[in-house]
């Protein structure tokens, strides 16, 4: 049995006169013990999808199951067995770290001691502040506490809606390490993020944009589908270089990626010659170019263009 199945889910919102399609015919499934990432920009429909799956919203049409339970008919069973961490910090700000955790343990009819093993590594980091009010924690600590609260009843499926948004790079890295440890414990994790670099940390990813799933595959699978050649270019005058590249007719796409610009040429163009021409014409200094293997982010950029 799959941990999560989603079939043809449609969800629309009526906002004033217009109708917004938040989820447009979404289908996918997640295997048990998998980390499944939903990657997409803001407004792609990630939170709506999470709310449908956590039984908080009714979809207009389509079906979805969690651990075999239907999200409408079996909502009570689902609410017993999943952990949910909403995108917005949703704990009691006026309760202390420990009180929050105790509360969430108790409403799931368990105790902190019973499942301490599961949260130990995360909780140890915030334990020095356990008497502090949740509202006074830093962003990263809030996320860790929220994760602890979502985990304290040993859920079989964990829903994390943008858990790393607004969290510093070090904490983000730690957070993902925690997720991998949880995966080893057999917990299925559905995680959404707007950061594409986090895609490679998932077992499988779905790229989402404007309520549609663009591609569902393993990270390697998505990269394998990418047939085009990617060039990385660098010069001292990065901004002018970008404008120059965008204006060139032979170039299909061009994005800044850290120190380099990643460039894809139209099929007919004579790649390396063209690049050299641009460099010479534009009098760029320290011009550097090389052919590289595509990364997951290149693939997403490509998919989102289509």
């Amino acid at each position: 049995m799959k941990a999560i199945t989603v079939e043809n889910i449609v969800k629309t919102y009526r906002i004033k006169k217009g109708v917004v399609e938040a989820l447009n015919d979404i289908s996918f499934s997640v295997d048990r013990g998998e980390i499944f990432g939903i990657i997409g920009p803001d407004g792609a429909g990630k939170t709506s999808l999470f709310r449908v799956l956590t039984t908080l919203l009714r979809a207009d049409s389509g079906t979805a199951t969690i651990d075999g339970f239907d999200v409408i008919k079996g909502y009570k069973q689902i609410r017993n067995r999943v952990g949910y961490m909403p995108g917005r910090f949703s704990l009691y700000q006026d309760l202390s770290v420990q009180e929050n955790l105790e509360f969430f343990a108790a409403i799931f009819d368990t105790t902190i001691a019973q499942n301490y093993d599961l949260i130990k590594e995360i909780y140890q980091q915030i334990e020095p502040f356990k008497a502090r009010k949740a509202g006074q924690l830093s962003g990263g600590m809030k996320q860790k506490l929220a994760l602890c609260c979502a985990l304290i009843h040993k859920p079989s499926v964990l829903f994390l809606d943008e858990p790393t948004t607004g969290v510093d790079a070090v904490s983000r890295k730690e957070f993902w390490e925690m997720l991998h440890r949880l995966k080893i414990q057999g917990i299925t994790i559905l995680v959404s993020t707007a950061y594409m670099d986090e895609a490679s940390l998932c077992d499988k990813v779905a790229l989402m944009q404007k309520g549609r799933l663009l591609s569902v595959n393993t990270t390697q699978g998505i990269i394998a589908q990418f047939k085009k050649t990617i060039w990385a270019i660098k010069a001292t005058e990065m901004f002018r270089l970008m404008n120059e590249l965008k204006n060139s007719e032979a170039i299909e796409s061009c994005y800044p990626f850290g120190q380099y610009h990643h460039v894809v040429f139209k099929p007919a163009a004579n790649n390396s010659e063209l690049l050299k021409n641009i460099a010479v014409r534009g009098h760029f200094t320290q011009f550097e170019m090389k052919q590289i293997e595509p990364g997951i982010e290149d693939c997403f950029m490509e998919l989102m263009q289509a």
């Binding site: 919203l57 108790a106 409403i107």
Partner: protein
């Protein structure tokens, strides 16, 4: 059960840590009772008057002294001409003037009839009425002492007894009224915030995805407020007995039990409001609008319900405070037992059950 208790504990912590709100909740009834008790009274006391005595004889001086000595009146000015009367009224210094014509005693003894003119400022008709009545009573008293000496053939004397409140104290009426008003406002407003707050803070999203049942959430949210309200009931009763001299004639336990019942009714109204509102501000506004005015108007404590047009009398029946007001007056002032108020009690119980039922039924198990 453990789920329930931890939820109650959590709610209690919310109340306890928000010290400012807790302070307001505890002190609001005290302030209201003191305000109504000493400032907003409609009893007439120490009204300023002036006397124009053109007779200056034994009779007029005796009556004038009696009036000036009464606790209702405060003689501020002796006038010497008729024209002064209007001038003094216009200055706003007096509410009433009394005029004795010249030869007052002479007329009284020899013509068997004398006149006193009482002029009152009727821009406030109720006060004017009360004042002239008081003055007339004092004059009648004087007349009675005169008559005592000479026997009249036929006299009918009325004996008036004011039951339950012989001194006609306003406090006997408003203490039950303020109890109804304060308990209704405190309880309903407090709880109307309770559920909306969880929606606003986003915590509702998390506790919905848990095995918590709606009716447990609702009951758990009302319990700590019941405790706060109980403190309010005690302070109001202590204040009314020791500060306002309104005794509790009936059973204290019955009074407390009925008050707790009314508190639960009010809490249920708050929960119902909380269910349908989406922001704390909206909930607050709804509670104020739908509770404050109806309670004030239809509980019968400010305006007698019997005097209202028939449709309004019917509407007044759905205001819980009306029934509670009747109960409190019966138990506290008249000293009646449960036999006299079982009907009102039953109505309150029915209302509470209906309100709680609707709240639990309406509780949204999903977002939106």
């Amino acid at each position: 059960m453990k789920q329930f208790l931890i939820f109650v504990k959590k709610e209690w912590l919310h109340i306890w840590r928000d010290r400012r709100t807790l302070f307001i909740l505890i002190w609001m009834p005290v302030v209201q009772i003191v305000l109504y008790g000493f400032a907003l009274t409609n009893e007439v006391k120490n009204s300023n008057i002036a006397i124009l005595d053109q007779a200056h004889d034994e009779a007029s001086i005796t009556i004038a002294n009696k009036i000036a000595a009464s606790r209702y009146f405060n003689l501020v000015k002796n006038l010497y001409s008729y024209n002064d009367i209007e001038a003094t009224f216009k200055q706003g210094k007096i509410r009433m003037a009394i005029v004795f014509p010249s030869g007052f005693r002479h007329d009284l003894l020899h013509a068997n009839s004398a006149q006193i003119q009482i002029i009152a400022d009727a821009s406030d008709p109720n006060t004017a009425n009360t004042l002239t009545n008081y003055a007339a009573t004092i004059v009648t008293d004087y007349q009675a002492t005169l008559n005592h000496e000479q026997k009249l053939p036929y006299t009918i004397s009325t004996q008036v007894r004011m039951l339950y409140n012989p001194e006609l104290k306003g406090a006997y009426n408003f203490v039950p009224g303020v109890m109804a008003l304060v308990l209704m406002l405190v309880c309903a407003m407090m709880t109307s915030m309770a559920i909306v707050k969880e929606k606003e803070m986003g915590t509702m999203e998390v506790i919905l995805v848990s095995p918590l049942k709606p009716f447990r959430i609702i009951i758990a949210k009302t319990v700590p407020y019941l405790f706060v309200s109980f403190i309010n009931i005690i302070t109001i009763l202590l204040l009314s007995v020791y500060a306002l001299d309104v005794p509790i004639s009936g059973s204290v336990w019955l009074l407390l039990a009925e008050s707790i019942l009314f508190t639960i009714t009010s809490l249920s109204i708050g929960i119902l409001i909380s269910n349908s509102a989406t922001t704390q501000q909206a909930a607050m506004f709804m509670a104020m609008l739908s509770l404050f005015l109806p309670t004030l108007l239809f509980s019968g404590f400010m305006f007698p319900i019997e005097n209202m047009p028939f449709p309004l009398q019917i509407i007044s029946n759905i205001v819980p405070a009306k029934w509670y007001f009747v109960i409190i007056k019966a138990v506290m002032i008249k000293g009646l037992g449960f036999a006299a108020i079982w009907k009102e009690t039953l109505i309150l119980i029915g209302m509470t059950a209906a309100l709680l039922g609707i709240s639990i039924y309406q509780f949204k198990i999903r977002l939106a």
